[in-house]
């Protein structure tokens, strides 16, 4: 389940060109272009309402773009949505496991919707549950899970089809600090083991700094800039943080100037 498949994996996980989405008069996403290479964690950050979730919905085939193109896992989201769906995993922003089923039963529904062969369905489900530290509670109804457990169950579910690209929309929103750190640990574990690209949205800069290899800043439907969290200090000087860049790219630049003025 965690084996990387280097043989037939396209070099680029996500290739987005001039992607635009309008809802009536409102332009939610304005000409976004992105390139996410394989095997990295890519963060799309920005304030609420910046267009992150709409971008994810287009990339995951849930809503068609108004114009522009997006290829995910080697397929065009508009022309071949089913091929894209086969190859991606998705952890939505809201908690979305079925509370009236057990953890195992929740995963079984998806194992069958993805038409995994019957012979190894059970093993794959158990592997995914163990990977997310849920082996012991697999037969408990999800209504008795904590928020962090539900989130890990959803991540387990998103891994069942061994996705080439895993989408996570605000993966730790609404979780307490302990649960957040557990989810972070699991995501890092995935990055280490899986040959999959992870595309996540967040508005927590500590989360982006902790998890992401590349970060794109989104503001008012546009990509305002792209950075690698690991070399921000090298590029901008000691003490420069992702928070400062967030503010510079997505709004006022007061804070950045303030810091620059300090000795």
């Amino acid at each position: 389940m965690v084996s990387a498949r280097v043989d037939d994996v396209p070099e680029v996980a996500i290739e987005v060109t001039d992607l635009t989405k309008r809802f009536g008069d409102v332009v939610a996403v304005r000409g976004v272009s992105l390139r996410v290479p394989h095997g990295i964690v890519f963060g799309l950050v920005g304030p609420n309402g910046a267009g992150k979730s709409t971008t994810v919905k287009m990339l995951t085939t849930l809503t068609p773009p108004t114009s522009g193109s997006a290829r995910v896992a080697g397929f065009d989201v508009r022309r071949s949505p089913v091929e894209v769906r086969r190859r991606i995993g998705y952890v939505p922003q809201m908690q979305s496991a079925d509370p009236d089923l057990t953890g195992f039963e929740n995963l079984l529904v998806y194992a069958r919707l993805y038409a995994l062969p019957r012979a190894n369905r059970r093993r794959k489900i158990l592997d995914a549950l163990h990977l997310m530290d849920l082996g012991d509670v697999r037969d408990r109804l999800v209504r008795h899970y904590s928020g962090g457990m539900v989130r890990r169950l959803e991540i387990a579910q998103s891994l069942l089809n061994e996705p080439r690209v895993l989408f996570m929309d605000e993966p730790t929103i609404g979780l307490d600090p302990l649960a957040r750190h557990m989810v972070w640990e699991r995501i890092k574990h995935l990055r280490a083991g899986l040959g999959t690209a992870i595309f996540m949205t967040t508005h927590y800069m500590d989360e982006a700094a902790e998890l992401c290899d590349r970060v794109a800043f989104m503001s008012e439907g546009k990509i305002a800039g792209e950075e690698s969290p690991s070399d921000i200090e090298a590029r901008y000087g000691t003490g420069m943080m992702l928070d400062d860049l967030f503010i510079r790219y997505t709004g006022g630049n007061m804070l950045v100037e303030e810091r620059a003025a300090a000795p």
């Binding site: 849930l62 769906r85 939505p92 919707l113 993805y114």
Partner: protein, 259 residues
């Protein structure tokens, strides 16, 4: 896995999830027995004394049983629209639609689940029927025929309900619409009286109501000596035809429930 096997797996994934929920919480099924009990043991007992309802050689108490069974299956099937809205609110439907399963399979899975729930009603209605001393056909072919008609009728009304859910999108609006739809469906059918009694405008409504054909077929399979009004072939053809059209519409509309 070939395509047919894959689609079968996808359809039953949805159906089995619904069945599993009933297994975890069977109390809800018991509460569903109240309505048929009221209709058969109160309404039926009183109206049987009226002796003004022409049901031929069949006593009114018996005539009513298939109608009440169809009614309770209808009410359960119509509930699936609300449960779809609830699943949308929980984010479950987003993930269903993000899977490679065809929309038709997702709808069909729900339709079959409504059928299974309808069958649990059938078990209870047969038990009530026996308790109040109604003569029901209990041969294997008759019971199988009844079961098929319950599944078919439930599939029709469940799919109809999903379409309504895709249009109204909120639970509150659905509750209102659901009331407005189910009672006329029930009264403008042959469920509790023969349609020959109806004024002509109501008769027309009853003739385009799939429930009328479901009840006709149910009476054939449940009551000894019942002569069908339209013939079993017509009863099945109407329901299958309506279901095929509703399935095609629901599969197209299903993603709209997300927006």
């Amino acid at each position: 896995m070939n395509t047919i096997e894959a689609v079968y797996t996808q359809i039953t994934a949805i159906t089995d999830a619904e069945i599993q929920k009933l297994v975890h919480d069977p109390i809800e099924l018991l509460t569903r027995v109240i309505q048929p009990v009221l209709w058969l043991m109160m309404f039926g007992e009183v109206f049987a004394r009226v002796r003004g309802i022409p049901t031929g050689s069949i006593p009114y108490e018996s005539f009513l049983v298939p109608g009440v069974l169809a009614q309770s299956a209808l009410f359960i099937a119509i509930f699936f629209g609300i449960s779809a809205i609830w699943e949308r609110d929980l984010g479950i439907l987003y993930k269903y639609m993000m899977s490679p399963a065809p929309r038709e399979a997702l709808v069909l899975g729900k339709a079959l689940a409504a059928g299974v729930r309808g069958l649990t009603q059938a078990v209870m209605v047969y038990i009530i029927g026996l308790l109040i001393g109604v003569g029901l056909r209990v041969t294997v072919p008759a019971v199988l025929g009844m079961a098929v008609m319950i599944v078919l009728g439930s599939a029709v009304f469940c799919t109809f309900s999903l379409i309504i859910a895709c249009i109204v999108k909120t639970r509150e609006r659905f509750m209102g619409i659901g009331q407005v739809l189910t009672m006329p469906l029930f009264f403008a059918s042959s469920a509790i009286y023969p349609i020959s009694l109806m004024p002509s405008w109501l008769h027309v409504l009853a003739m385009i109501n799939p429930l009328t054909y479901q009840v006709d077929a149910l009476r054939l399979f449940m009551l000894p000596g019942y002569q069908t009004s339209f013939g079993l072939g017509t009863d099945i053809a109407v329901q299958v035809g309506v279901f095929a059209v509703l399935l095609a519409i629901a599969a197209r509309m299903y993603p709209l429930i997300l927006s």
